[in-house]
Each structure stands twice: as C-alpha cells, then as structure tokens.
Symmetry: none
Subunit: 411 residues, 2 copies
C-alpha cells in the first residue's frame, strides 16, 4: 500500500513550525508494509486542500492529513475532504458529547467552532482523541482507500496513530513482512563506501540498501520484504553478511545507537571510567556523553581547559611543551590525556586541542588542525586531523572522531 | 514572488530524517517578500522529480530544492531539473577544481561520482559550497523564474542560502521594502506574553507581529512592509516601542544573537573572565559558550564535575556540605561557584547541580530539581528550579537559565 502525507496549515508552510509529523508517520507506517511516496505541506485553503487530496488519491490508496482540524479554522479541511470524497458532513453525537465533556472538565465555555469538530464525512470511522478536542477519523473513499485525518500537535497525533481503530485499519492492507537492519559506519565517506559496495547497492521491491550520510558518519539501511518474517530476515541477513565482509572494519554498531551510546555501553561492559580534557571542542564531548542517561556510571568528569594556565594547573601539561610546540600540538594532546587520566583516576582519557576558527589559524597551524589524544594504562597516542568547514562543523567532527578513537581503543 | 520548496530524498519521505530545511527556508525567504505556498518531499526518482518541478513551475516563480545532490545518486536531480527547464548539463571547471581540492585536503580519493557534482544546467549561476562537495546552483528558467538547487545537510544548506549570490538573486524580485525586528524574551512564557500584548498582536499585509517559542525563550518578530525603508522602519519602531513599554523587562536582546552571544559581548565589554562548573548539564554550558567565535577572550575554562570527588578536589566543595545536604543542594551550588571563581581566577562563575533524569530522582529531590549558582566578587547566590520534561529538555532549559542568570548579574 502507498501513502501520501499532507500537512495542512499555514504555520507549517510559512516555516513557523517544523513538520516533524510527516517523518514520524512515514517511519511508523513501515511496520504495516505501507510505503510513503510523498510529503506535502499546504496552506489552510479549501481549494488547495481539495486539489491536493484529489491528486493524491490518484497516486496512493492512503492519504494521511495532519492539522487543519483545530477550532480556529472554519472546518475547511473536513469540508474539502468530504468534497473530494463526494460525501457530505454528518454530525456525530458521541463526539459532540466527548467535546462537551472536555470543556466541562476544563471549566471553559464551548464555542460554536468546537461544535463543528463533531462533524465528519458520512462514511467515516471516528477515532476519539484523549489529548485534545478534535477527534480523528478514517474517511473511506467510495471505491477503495481512505483519508485518515489527524490533528496537528504531535502530542495528539502520535497517540491517535497508535489508537487500535487506526492500527486495525492499517493492518488490513498488510501483505508482506518487513525486516530492517541499520549499520552505522565511521571513518569512511559515503561515496567511498558506496564505491566499495556498488555491486550490492540495490533498490528492488523486496530488498533495499540505502545510505544516509550524517556529519562524519554514514548509515546503511537494509530493508527486506517477504511473505514471512523468517524469509525477510534471511534476505536482510544475507546482505548484511556481504557488507560485513567488504567494509566490516568501519561498522561501529548495528541499530540506532549513537557513537557515544556505544562507547558508554562498552565502558560499562568493561567497567572502565572515562575522563575528558577538551580545548577547542569546549565541552562538546562531555556534553554528548552526559546526554546519555546512565553515563554517570562511567564518566568521572570533564575539563574544558581553554587557557594554558588551566592546561598546566588542571592537567599537568608542562610549560616547556607549551612553549616549544604550542598549545595545538601532539605533545600537548598527549600530556593533556595522560594528565586527565592520572589526576582524575580514570581508566581512559580523551583529550582534544585544536583550532576551530574562524580566527586563530596560521599558515603553519591552519583552522581545522586538531590533535586528539587517548590515554590508557597501556599506551597513549595522539592523532592529527585537518578538518574543513565552519567552527560548528569542525567541533562536531572532532568530537565524533575523538569518541570513535576512544571506542576503537577499548573495543 | 511565490515559492515552492521541494526536498528530494528517500530518507526524508521514508521518515529517516526530519525535514527541517523547509521551515528554515520558508522563514528565511520572508525578508525578501517571498511567500512559500507549498512544501513537498519526494523520492529520489527522475520521473517524480521531473513531474514535481514542472508542476511547481506552473504555480510559483521560485522553486528551491534541497537534497539529491550527494555523490551517491546518479545525479538524477540535476538531470531531471535540466529536462524540466529544457536545458542540457554542462561541466563547470571551477567547481571541479574546488571538489578536487576538497579531496586533496581530506587526503581522500575522489570518485567518478564526485566529478558529476560539477555538472549543472547550462543557464546556471553556480554557488560554491564551503562546507561540502556539492556546489549549489541557481538554474534560470527559459522565460522567468528559477530553480535553486541546494544540498540536503543543513550545515551546508544554511550557509549557502546566505551566500551573496543567492541573496542577490532573491533580492531581485523584491518590490516592497521590509523592516524586520526581532525581540528576544527570557523568563516569560509564550501565552503570558501574548496575553499581555494581545491588543498589539497583528497580522495585516503591512504589519505582522508573530511569536516563536523555543525551549525556555520566546522571540517576537515584527515585520513591517512599505514602499520606502523609512516608512517600514517607522511602522516597526512604533510597534517595538509599545512592546518595550509593556514587556520590556523580559527582553534580553534585539536581533538574532543568542543568550550566550549576548553574555559574551557583555563580558568583553566589561572585561570580565568567566568560568563554569557543571554537574547535570555535563558541559552543555561550556559547549554553548565556546561555540561562539572569540569566546576564548572571556572564557577561562570549565569543569564538568560529575563525581563528588571531583567537586571536592577541583572546586573545594566541602565534604560536610555534600554529606549534610547532598550533591544537589543550594549549598553545593554556592560552593561550586565560589570554588570555580576563586581557584581559576575568574570574575564570574556559573555552577549547576541537579537531577536531569530519567533516573536518580527521589520524592524529596525529584527529576528536574536544579540549583544554579552565580559567584562574583560582590556576592554569591543560587536559585532553585523545578523543571519538567525529558533529560534533554531539562539540560537545555537549565543551561539557558544559568546563562541568563549570569547575564542579569553583570548587566
């Protein structure tokens, strides 16, 4: 089954709010074997809505609309959709009672606009909304397919998508079982990875291998479809094994976990304590790590040593090293990592010193030059990087590389 | 001028990433008097792209596409768009050289796919991309209008939108002069602010006052339109003065600067040095501050003291205070701030201790309980907060309140 998702609302089209609903719904529909083929965001205008619905019904059997059901609109969404389905609107007494109850509980007066929220295209399954006044509905098309109308706020839309009436409807069209596998890569660019895997890059009805590049990393997603879940799994696993055999050394995890989550898991597993000593990343590594619940078990603390004085007093970096090589140098990265690990009783320390720009670069030490140090009881090493991009990007890529280096060290 | 924004990419349509680009672009275009009338997200498919572009060109003079320019696709976006514009693709030597340079600096091999990124519809203005390999371009339509093609990652797309070649093009269609004023508020909720200003909330053709709520803050944007810039300015200034007289005490800046940028400006102006001591925010405050270029002038450094041991050794927090009141307490926040300021020779110190959750809360000290301390030579104070939301939200709101407290202290 194919689906088109339509956000109705000037606030979306004008950029006042980001449409997170469409991504949520597309992802949610996958479990039912429903493929989203388009997202649309249109203005609150009856003519626009009517046109968009009519056109979409030619291309997809399922249309899901979000928004345009609030009491502030003159109900144009439902009027337009009813027109598109060649139906009239009918009052639903049960919904009206629920809306009345909602206002009673809030101690607020109900407006005539709210009453209009109880009208639906005649051939509809009405889905009660426990988190707002606008009920959702599944308006069935005269021949086949349906338009599911949902309210816009995610706090109302998400519970409604999971409502049993909607789940039941979505399950009806399910014919295939789906197996999805995500592989996350670090240290290889999107194009090199695809070049290596080019024989296996596939996009058929039953098997899709799709790459997604993020700052510093690449994700490959395998989607396999079959009549039974066992068959789908087998197909996905076969492709996965091939990918491992070709580029397995760059895979840091399977699934949705981030680099820092994988690092924290590993630290927990090996019962190791981590400390960070950051200069140009300014706390970004500590921030990423502490953003993960439970990180306090393995993260002792972090130091953001911007000044040379702090590098010396807090990390025992030697004055001679700073004088001879400068703050952005391999020697300082190594002393920062060792100092952090030894002074703060950690098993592993990450250090970063570099030039994030836009100022502070020189011919010899340009913006983007970064040293990342890793210290453990066994050894200390530092790597030199030359990153490009703006301050933000350099800091982000540095933090990811530093976390990846720590992960590689303890793996 | 009307605009349609098209995101090209299976990763968007399938819900793997949220399309934040469309909202950014719509909002950005307003300053040029360009109205967005639709957002679209379509699959990486030549036929789909061709159809969407053709259809959109009938309804809008400006089409902006994001995505589909990466080296992994067979360049179908540019092929399809060139077809829609009835043009052929032409190699741009300068772009090719830039892409080659990008790979040289990275020390990576350039693939044939990357070479294709240097081809553009013949009648194009090419816009160099300093943050990635895919250049952007403004492909002019045979008659009127244009398709602006941008890469998908926001870190590349946003700087390109602000590129002078694109700004110049967007300015061309401008007929009215527009004056925009942004007022940024802290310490007041969106609905309270709107309630206070309800008489002045306006949305006419010539004068718009629109609120945007972000985590912990609210922004009001005044947009005034007139034939001359003087008239537009006068209209906007009149409304601004009214807002100042009603809710001026909550305004922390005019313009686009963030809380941390305003804080850094103030610190520079007063020649003060800042140090941070964080527990539950885990480096987020330091990260926000060091994300601003030039922050090293006023930011000495930061400490992320997760463990009690680090609080004692690095910040001179007393064991008795920790034992008697616990790590999350007013006393510890005050000792952290004082310790940080005195030990690291700063003029002002920010400290944070709290429970970000999801675990670690108790009846007495629930998740969301946070103390923020500020220490200066004159005085030390700590404020208690009870925030709600998930870990991310609690950390973010804490960091913003802490930065705002420091700002209020030195203002």
């Amino acid at each position: 089954m194919k689906c088109i998702i339509i956000a109705i609302g000037t606030e979306v089209v004008s950029g006042d709010i980001v449409n997170t609903n469409a991504a949520y719904i597309s992802d949610y529909l996958k479990q039912f074997g429903i493929k989203t083929i388009q997202h649309l965001a249109i203005l609150d205008d009856e003519r626009h809505i009517l046109k968009a619905i009519k056109r979409s019904l030619k291309r997809a059997e399922l249309i899901i609309t979000t928004g345009g059901l609030g009491p502030t609109y003159d109900d144009i969404t439902k009027i337009a959709i009813a027109k598109a389905l060649k139906q009239s609107l009918k009052k639903d007494e049960k919904s009206l009672e629920t809306i009345r109850g909602f206002f009673r509980r809030l101690g607020r007066e109900m407006t005539p606009n709210n009453e209009r929220q109880a009208y639906f295209p005649e051939n509809s399954i009405i889905v009660e909304n426990n988190n707002g006044t606008a009920p959702a509905c599944i308006a069935k098309c005269p021949k086949k397919g349906a338009v599911i109308m949902l309210p816009g706020p995610p706090s109302e839309m998400i519970p409604l998508m999971e409502h049993e009436k909607i789940v039941e409807y979505l399950n009806r069209g399910k014919t295939d079982e789906i197996q999805e596998i995500r592989l996350k890569f670090f240290g290889i660019g999107e194009s090199s990875l695809e070049e290596r895997l080019k024989e296996h890059m596939t996009c058929t009805k039953d098997l899709i291998l799709a790459p997604y590049a993020k700052v510093g990393e690449v994700e490959l997603k395998i989607t396999a479809k079959a009549k039974t879940i066992e068959e789908a799994k087998e197909k996905a696993d076969n492709l996965k094994e091939k990918i491992y055999s070709i580029a397995g050394e760059f895979i840091y995890t399977e699934g949705k976990k981030s680099l820092e989550e994988v690092l924290i898991d590993k630290l927990k597993e090996k019962n190791l304590k981590l400390v960070t000593a950051e200069s140009c990343t300014g706390g970004l590594i500590a921030e990423k790590i502490t953003n993960i619940p439970g990180s306090s078990e393995v993260f002792t603390g972090g130091l953001v040593t911007y000044s040379n004085e702090m590098k010396m007093s807090l990390l025992d970096v030697k004055k001679e090293t700073l004088d001879e090589f400068g703050a952005v140098s391999r020697g300082v990265a190594i002393e920062m990592a060792d100092g952090a690990r030894l002074k703060y009783n950690a098993d592993i320390a990450i250090s970063v010193t570099g030039i994030a720009g836009p100022d502070g670069g020189s011919e010899e030490k340009p913006v983007g030059l970064v040293y990342v140090g890793i210290s453990t009881a066994e050894k200390t090493e530092a790597m030199r990087f030359n990153f490009t991009g703006n301050r933000n990007k350099i800091r982000e890529v540095t933090a990811k590389n530093a976390i990846h280096m720590a992960l590689s060290e303890i793996k």
